[in-house]
């Protein structure tokens, strides 16, 4: 049985904060087929396009028919834990700090044998449910979980290394005026977040549902304006070392035509809030989070960006939003590479139009703020890197893969 995560003790000021170490990172290029699936929370291994046999570990030719057509496809997640061991001695410093470590060999229902990390509630000889997780090094790893929920299973320490579960963690939401920020505060409180800092800029401006936000357990309103370098730096100085999960909800959505007189000004404002805001945020908060990547069992765990799926394909009706989020997407890759040093995950949650004021003129389906919040928390619990929320986001993603030119032609119509 997993031991529930207790509220962490206050930190001993005499103890050094350990440097974050990472599990072994080298992988073959082919193996990154697993990384892609893990990032999205899918379980996919190679399946020969000619003889249809599943194969693992990742190969460049099918061992049955030598075909080189070996796409990674979603595979059945069931398997049997054929043998289990607990590693007490390891050659690797990351694992050494986390011993003992359970690994086992799983006979997958689809055929191959897979060495995997094993959840504490799995027993040898029993059926397990496989998933692909991103480990602290950001690399894909197979994980064997019990087939049905066990009490507090999400608190298993090996599982928690693969995830960023908000339970007992401290979170910063950058913009509490945003309905998504408000929904997130509520959902995170329900998910057991220990402290929820909610940034509000220009506090002299009242905003809807402010009182309800203040009433949520664990919420603390803090001054934060991403367009103001000093405001960001001041907050980081104040609470930077307490932020385990940072969720950037700051956005600036203004419709408008590319040729409008004020278009550059507006996109400038949008960029100030989104791209430059995120850069200010990164500069102030990321170094501390990287340093705290291994600060006990509850160190800094994840950075979350909420992105419009139109970061991937410009929607002319929301041109400046699309442009700014495309820039933010690129920034997120930069930041992800930096955060990786501390084993801190970066998750991008892509959504289509939200059911909020600024998407008023766009037709449904829209994503309710509460649905986006739920998806973000679910993504953190599963340790994902990419989350696509709602029908529009998934539609755009699929069409982009199928034919980006068709999408480009159709999206403006």
């Amino acid at each position: 049985m997993s031991k529930p995560i207790a509220k962490p003790k206050r930190k001993n000021p005499l103890e050094r904060t350990r440097e974050p170490l990472l599990p072994p990172a080298p992988r073959s290029r082919t193996a990154h087929g697993l990384t892609r699936a893990a990032a999205e929370g899918r379980f996919a291994i190679q399946r020969c396009a000619e003889c249809h046999a599943f194969t693992y570990p990742p190969r460049d030719a099918c061992p049955r028919c030598l075909s080189d057509r070996l796409p990674f496809v979603d595979a059945p997640t069931g398997g049997v834990l054929a043998a289990l061991t607990t590693v007490h001695v390891t050659a690797d410093s990351y694992f050494r700090e986390r011993l003992p470590w359970r690994t086992g060999i799983v006979t997958l229902d689809c055929g191959p044998q897979a060495i995997a990390h094993v959840h504490g509630d799995c027993a040898e000889g029993e059926r397990v449910n496989m998933s692909l997780q991103l480990d602290r090094g950001g690399q894909a790893a197979l994980f064997a979980n019990p087939i049905s929920r066990t009490p507090d299973m999400q608190d298993d320490l090996q599982w928690r290394e693969m995830t960023a579960d908000p339970n007992q963690r401290r979170v910063l939401i950058t913009d509490g005026r945003n309905p998504v920020g408000q929904a997130l505060a509520k959902t995170l409180a329900e998910a057991g977040a220990r402290e929820i800092f909610v940034g509000v800029g220009e506090q002299w401006k009242p905003f809807p549902n402010e009182e309800a936000l203040r009433q949520i357990g664990g919420v603390k309103i803090v001054p934060l304006d991403l367009t103001d370098e000093r405001s960001v730096a001041d907050l980081a100085t104040d609470i930077g070392a307490k932020v385990d999960i940072l969720i950037n909800t700051t956005d600036h959505i203004r419709p408008g035509h590319l040729f409008d007189a004020g278009a550059t000004l507006r996109i400038g404002e949008t960029m100030e809030q989104t791209l430059f805001g995120a850069m200010r945020l990164a500069r102030a908060f990321a170094p501390v989070m990287i340093a705290r990547g291994a600060d006990g069992r509850h160190g800094a765990a994840a950075w979350v960006n909420l992105l419009s799926v139109h970061a991937l394909a410009n929607l002319p009706a929301l041109g400046s939003l699309s442009v700014s989020h495309a820039a933010c997407l690129s920034l997120s890759h930069w930041l992800r590479a930096e955060l990786a040093r501390g084993g801190v995950k970066l998750m991008n949650a892509f959504s289509g139009p939200l059911d909020t004021e600024w998407f008023q003129t766009l037709p449904p389906p829209k994503v309710a703020p509460a649905a986006l919040a739920t998806a973000v928390v679910d993504g953190l619990r599963r340790g994902l890197e990419e989350v696509y929320v709602g029908d529009v986001a998934n539609d755009i993603k699929t069409r982009l893969t199928a034919n980006p030119k068709a999408l480009e032609r159709e999206i403006g119509q």
Binding site: A83, L84, T85, T86, T90, A91, T103, Q113, I115
Partner: protein, 397 residues
């Protein structure tokens, strides 16, 4: 396996080819020297032992994990060799058998007269860790990131499964380890100098359950080597030699077994004995590849000393000591002598040669006429992929 349906060709015998001058460069736990240094020491010992110059070695076969960035070619210039036949066997614990097989054929065909088969590795403080993480692509992608337990964790899973399936107990593995330690106490080169009791074995700290401390070999620096030549060459040089009665190798056998319960020997053991013209019962001394005792137990089965699944019972019936029944790993094996990298697979061959030539000294058993040595190697992913074996007979066999 023979998908074409064509008849398998009959192996030719190794008549007239011998292995001689078994050489061990005494092991060290850690060495600040290079792999090249250890190989150089072995070559010198071979030349001294044969009473000829190393320049007379016209064949050279080398196995090492620690000579990078050199290849075998680079080593010829390093050591002043000018061979007309050259080979590298980067295949871990099966390198010794493969080196012997290839050298024997080269000599038989006249491609070389005297082949020096050398395995040597150094062991720097961080050598083992580096070897683990770079061992193979599958290990890099699909094993090492899972706790980095190395072979201990991989063989833990194999041992775990074997215990479950065939009823082996830790005591059975322990018996083999204790017997080998008894044997090692006679071997001045063994790194392990203290006696081991079964109680101590059972009480040892866990490494990766069910693997505990005394199930593991100690990585070290060292070298093993021998010469392969025609029988008349050996006679001319007045070198006592071991005849090669038969050898086998097999790679990636039984891929369909979910977890390894047998090695490639099981596929070719029949041919091994047929070619030698003997039965398993005719073997006087056995040197298995003992990276873990469970693998030795598998070899008893796969090499025909008992049936599959009878390994545990077989272990319970014998003593495995030099003076006891079924003398096994008489030098102490890798478990008690140490594992000198790629030389681990040569240890048993060299000891087996000494036994049948009757120059094993303190570890010599009585009446060793025919010996078997096996090799096993390359845990590429979830199992050891390569298996090999040789049967030697003494001159007076």
């Amino acid at each position: 396996m023979n998908g074409t349906g064509a008849a398998k060709s009959k192996r030719q015998s190794y008549d007239g080819v011998v292995a001689t001058v078994p050489v061990t460069v005494p092991y060290q736990r850690y060495s600040i020297e290079s792999g090249q240094w250890w190989i150089g020491r072995a070559l010198r010992a071979l030349a001294d032992g044969a009473g000829i110059s190393h320049r007379d070695f016209d064949g050279f076969s080398v196995a090492s994990f620690s000579i990078a960035p050199d290849s075998a070619v680079g080593l010829t210039q390093h050591f002043g060799l000018s061979p007309r036949w050259l080979d590298t066997i980067p295949m871990g614990g099966v390198s010794g058998i493969l080196s012997l097989r290839r050298a024997a054929r080269a000599v038989q065909a006249g491609d070389a007269d005297i082949v020096a088969c050398v395995a040597g590795d150094t062991n720097h403080v961080d050598t083992f860790r580096k070897t683990l993480s770079n061992f193979s692509r599958f290990a890099q992608d699909a094993v090492y990131p899972y706790g980095a337990g190395g072979p201990n964790a991989s063989f833990a899973l194999i041992a775990r499964n074997y215990m479950k399936q065939f009823g082996a107990r830790r005591e059975d593995f322990g018996k083999l380890c204790v017997a080998q330690r008894d044997n090692a106490l006679r071997n001045p080169h063994a790194l392990m100098k203290k006696p081991l009791t079964l109680d101590q074995y059972l009480a040892a700290r866990p490494i990766a359950e069910p693997i505990h401390l005394f199930d593991c070999v100690m990585p070290c620096a060292g070298a093993e080597a021998f010469l392969v030549m025609r029988e008349e060459t050996a006679r001319a040089l007045a070198l006592p030699a071991a005849k090669i009665l038969s050898t086998i190798e097999r790679h990636n056998a039984f891929a369909e077994d979910p977890i390894q319960v047998r090695g490639g020997w099981a596929q070719d053991a029949g041919e091994l004995y047929a070619m030698a013209g003997i039965a398993p019962a005719d073997i006087d001394v056995v040197q298995t590849y003992d990276d873990y005792p469970v693998i030795s137990m598998m070899q008893f089965e796969d090499l025909g000393f008992c049936e599959k699944g009878e390994g545990p019972d077989f272990v319970r019936k014998h003593s495995f000591t030099i003076n006891g029944s079924f003398p096994h790993n008489t030098s102490g094996g890798q478990l008690s002598v140490g594992q000198a990298g790629a030389a681990g697979g040569h240890l048993g061959i060299v000891e087996c040669m000494r036994q049948v030539i009757k120059i094993a000294g303190p570890t010599q058993i009585d009446g060793a006429r025919i010996g078997l040595a096996s090799g096993f190697g390359m845990i590429n992913y979830d199992r050891g992929l390569s298996a090999g074996a040789v049967i030697f007979a003494g001159d007076r066999a």
